[in-house]
């Protein structure tokens, strides 16, 4: 029976192994060889490696469907989600995996994007700002929003905070204080939301300097590597025009 099943090719997966918690551990590349299965993703391959070769291998995942944004990593030099990257995309069968740079390394392929995203959210005030909300009457129905506008807001809301845009950004890599595309997208989202009462001047207070919108050098790594295809280029350009025109 087993002879009828075609054997898959042998994949050579090299992984950067390093556990900063272990005293004296040094970063090293370790190569694992395993047979490719039909429809195999990097995420499935990693699980197999952990099962068969080394149970100490660290990597993050939750949803396995490109929704949670946990499994962002560098696959053959490109930031991407492991659960969406099919091994068949790599004709040579040689795949190198590294943790996303620009984030705190937890171990191996696992990085602390959560810590970064929380700091980013706090920095830009990633929630509806409205003084009147303090005296809100909870028994009254919320004001309706045009479906078209709701769709537009949702388009920018699709960010899964995977961190690929941050790791793909040469500016962010060079200058740690730079906000990065995930932050600009979030600002653009709240700027579009009529319930957020922050004015353009208020937005300028958040992003109006070289750590913000004027630090962006338009390298467009964010645009090209966003697994959710968010319109980073147009939103950053929009914010830049808006902020430059302020008196």
């Amino acid at each position: 029976m087993s002879e009828n099943i075609e054997k898959g090719r042998i994949l050579k997966i090299s992984i950067l192994r390093f556990n900063p918690q272990l005293k004296g551990d040094k970063p090293k590349m370790v190569t694992y060889e395993l047979e490719e299965a039909p429809g195999m993703t990097i995420f499935i391959a990693l699980n197999e490696i952990r099962e068969k070769f080394d149970s100490s291998l660290q990597f993050d995942f939750v949803c396995r469907a490109g929704i949670c944004g946990s499994c962002g990593m560098i696959i053959n030099g490109q930031p991407d989600l492991a659960c969406r990257a099919l091994t068949s995309k790599y004709p040579s069968g040689e795949i190198t995996l590294m943790p996303l740079p620009a984030f705190e390394l937890i171990g191996d392929l696992s990085v602390n994007t959560g810590k970064f995203m929380r700091a980013m959210s706090e920095r830009i005030g990633s929630w509806i700002h409205d003084q009147a909300m303090d005296e809100i009457d909870l028994t009254r129905l919320e004001e309706k929003m045009e479906p078209g506008l709701a769709d537009k807001i949702y388009e920018l809301e699709r960010c899964v905070e995977c961190g690929c845009c941050i790791s793909a950004c040469g500016t962010k890599r060079m200058r740690e204080e730079f906000l990065g595309a995930a932050g600009f997208m979030r600002i653009a989202r709240f700027h579009m939301d009529p319930r957020d009462k922050r004015t353009d001047d208020d937005i300028y207070e958040i992003i109006g300097d070289d750590d913000g919108i004027f630090g962006c050098m338009s390298l467009l790594g964010c645009e090209d590597y966003c697994p959710k295809d968010l319109p980073h280029q147009t939103q950053i350009a929009y914010l830049r025009r808006k902020m430059v025109n302020l008196r």
Partner: protein
């Protein structure tokens, strides 16, 4: 100190202006370089054509004495460009890597991703740095020798006055820096975005590559033409001589 404290109350609008003026000076310089290259390449149409263009630059039409005009106009124009050049350099240098570590991280990012637009930026950084020096030399010479633009005078500068190595490097630096810069301006500010900004960007990138090739080839051909004339000048023992258009005497 007072202004620093004020910035914590209300953020300064200066960074916005710096970003805007970096783009504005870059745009003017980029477009100027296209016109400049087209005028320089008039030598490919012959010495008469180039002499005519040089005369027009001096404002010969105002003077009405053939191809002679007012060289001071060239000096003033060069001074204007030099000023923009210095302002642009001062604004752009803010974006340079500030230390070895930043430079190392950027290089590492480039080798990791091999991403076009990231690599373009590094090209601009290197060519910009080169132009600090070579561009200044060229501008200063034109500013101080405004009357020495012509088929013979320019060719002598290229060959007998040893400017060809400088022009050769400057040509590549300008053309790469300029076309990448204009492409980046378009995506940075969202010009020409249209209904599908991603498709537009692809077209802009293709256009940028074509323009780089066009101007580099045109520049090399023009430089070659000046070198040829410059060598003839030496062979004819005419270095320092001036070209007169056959038709100009009749005007």
């Amino acid at each position: 100190m007072e202004s620093l404290l004020l910035d914590t109350v209300r953020k300064s609008r200066i960074p916005a202006k710096l970003d805007f003026y970096q783009s504005a000076t870059g745009l003017i310089l980029g477009l100027f370089m296209w016109v400049h290259m087209l005028m320089v390449s008039s030598i490919l149409l012959g010495k008469d054509a180039m002499k005519f263009v040089a005369g027009m630059l001096e404002g010969s039409i105002l003077r009405g004495e053939g191809d002679h005009g007012y060289p001071i106009l060239v000096t003033l124009a060069a001074m204007g460009i030099f000023t923009l050049f210095i302002i642009h350099a001062a604004l752009a240098v803010r974006k340079f890597p500030a230390n070895w570590k930043q430079h190392k991280v950027f290089r590492q990012q480039m080798s990791m991703m091999n991403h076009d637009d990231t690599n373009y930026w590094y090209t601009q950084f290197i060519t910009g740095f080169i132009m600090f020096f070579l561009g200044s030399v060229h501008l200063f010479i034109i500013m101080t020798h405004p009357d020495k633009i012509g088929p013979y005078a320019s060719a002598d500068r290229v060959v007998s006055e040893w400017m060809w190595p400088l022009y050769l490097v400057l040509l590549f630096a300008v053309e790469f820096h300029g076309t990448i810069g204009l492409y980046r301006l378009a995506v940075k500010w969202g010009w020409f975005d249209g209904a599908d900004p991603r498709a537009t960007r692809k077209k802009l990138k293709a256009f940028k590559k074509a323009l780089t090739i066009f101007f580099v080839v045109l520049g090399l051909a023009s430089l070659g033409a000046y070198v040829k004339i410059g060598v003839e000048q030496i062979n004819n023992d005419n270095v320092g001589g001036r070209y007169t258009r056959v038709s100009s005497t009749n005007q």
